[in-house]
Amino acid sequence: MTKAVVDSVRAGDLRAAARLMRDLDDGVPAAQRSLRQLYKHTGRSFILGITGAPGAGKSTLVDAIVGEFRAIGKTVGVVAIDPTSPYSGGAILGDRIRMQRHYLDDGVFIKSLATRGHLGGLSRSTIDVVNVMDAMGKDVVIIETVGVGQDEVEIVKVAHTNLVVVVPGLGDDIQAIKAGILEIADIFVVNKADREGADRTRRDLETMVSLNDYEEGEWVPPVMPTEAVSGKGVGELVEMIDSHREHVFIDDNLELFRREKATVELFEMLKTRLLEEAVGDLERHGLLDGLISDIAARRKDPYSIVEKLVNHSFAANLIG
């Protein structure tokens, strides 16, 4: 069963790929097993991350960038993430609306994901879904984050190149690009560049970049103006993306990137699984509820409980 799924995905069966992505998003164990088989076929796609505040024009920009990549014959996967409502658990995933012209293009595969409570701008399954698209043989995989705009640092470690999209006139320009978001940008995009204040936003960004110290040979983030709706500036942006790709794919940088990405993959999966295992185990033993009451009433402290619970030698299973 697992092997059949793996073969179908690699042979270009879109339905099998779509179902696998769905199963990964839903946390189906069989899908995880398929991914274990697929993993060795990943690592070939160029991964582009796009983040920025809601309304900055990320989806429209993705649409325009996809168009540029398709024009030079590259196949593209898009993972578009929208927030889950914390009240109902439902979500409206509307990023596709801006990407309609690619619906009938076999070279473009678009998957919309809801955050389902995961913080950091991605969904828990984003890395998994990107891996499936990678194994499908997509030349480029674009990740569009949820767009909260302040704490989306997770994307950095997943994408080779990160765009941070800013628009003029969103209040204090510096505010819109606080520490975290500033540091993740490989390229700044000032979208809606026809608007008043665009030049100022651009200058502010360039000034901020110039305040950093860069070593010889280090990448200095450029600021690129675009008008995603008309496509103006997008060709130049894609050329800049390609320059950054070349920079990352210099051997030393690539090795560093691969190690960082591998670290994030390992840590993220560990976090999720360890939490699930521990909570599940406490539930099965009927302990969870009592523990929470005890902590809430200050009869016990969470520090000691966690210390006792994780009192394991984790590496023992891998050694010998």
């Binding site: 839903d26 946390g27 409206i92 699930e276």
Partner: protein, 149 residues
């Protein structure tokens, strides 16, 4: 804390499967009025479903392609243009071609009662006409659209 009886260690992983119903809401054809579709999308979101909204002026091919990539369980279509007799059956037909006949198709809009039996024969599961409450639609989805096992 009360002592706990020994519980057998489960071999199966504790990973939680969380099946969410995914529904595509689309506007096939040429009319440009999507207020209704957006209201339905919102009501379904508030009921806890994941809604993929594809926007205006969709061809049946575009809708089915999006449904395939997004692996949806149901497709809700809003049509006010009068072209329902062509567009709705065409979407059902394309789903069959792609072996996606387990996807439930429902529709709504300005659709004469006389047309409804024919649409149902062609595989449209349910047609909602003006005056339907949001609750009826949410209840319908809850009872008739199921996530894949």
């Amino acid at each position: 804390m009360a002592p706990v009886a020994a519980v057998k260690k489960k071999a199966a992983p504790a990973r939680k499967v969380e099946r969410k119903i995914r529904i595509l809401i689309g506007k096939p054809g040429l009319d440009g009025h999507d207020r209704g579709a957006k209201i339905i999308a919102r009501a379904l979101r508030d009921a806890g479903f994941e809604i993929i909204y594809t926007g205006l002026h969709q061809t049946p091919e575009m809708i089915v392609s999006a449904a395939l990539q997004e692996d949806v369980d149901g497709i809700g279509l809003s049509i006010l243009s009068g072209a329902h007799n062509h567009l709705l059956p065409r979407i059902v037909e394309l789903l069959k071609e792609k072996k996606m006949d387990d996807v439930v198709v429902f529709g709504g809009g300005i659709i004469p009662d006389d047309d409804i039996p024919r649409l149902k024969r062609k595989g449209v599961d349910r047609v909602f006409t003006p005056g339907t409450t949001l609750k009826e639609i949410v209840d319908y989805v809850r009872e008739n659209v199921h996530p894949r096992a």
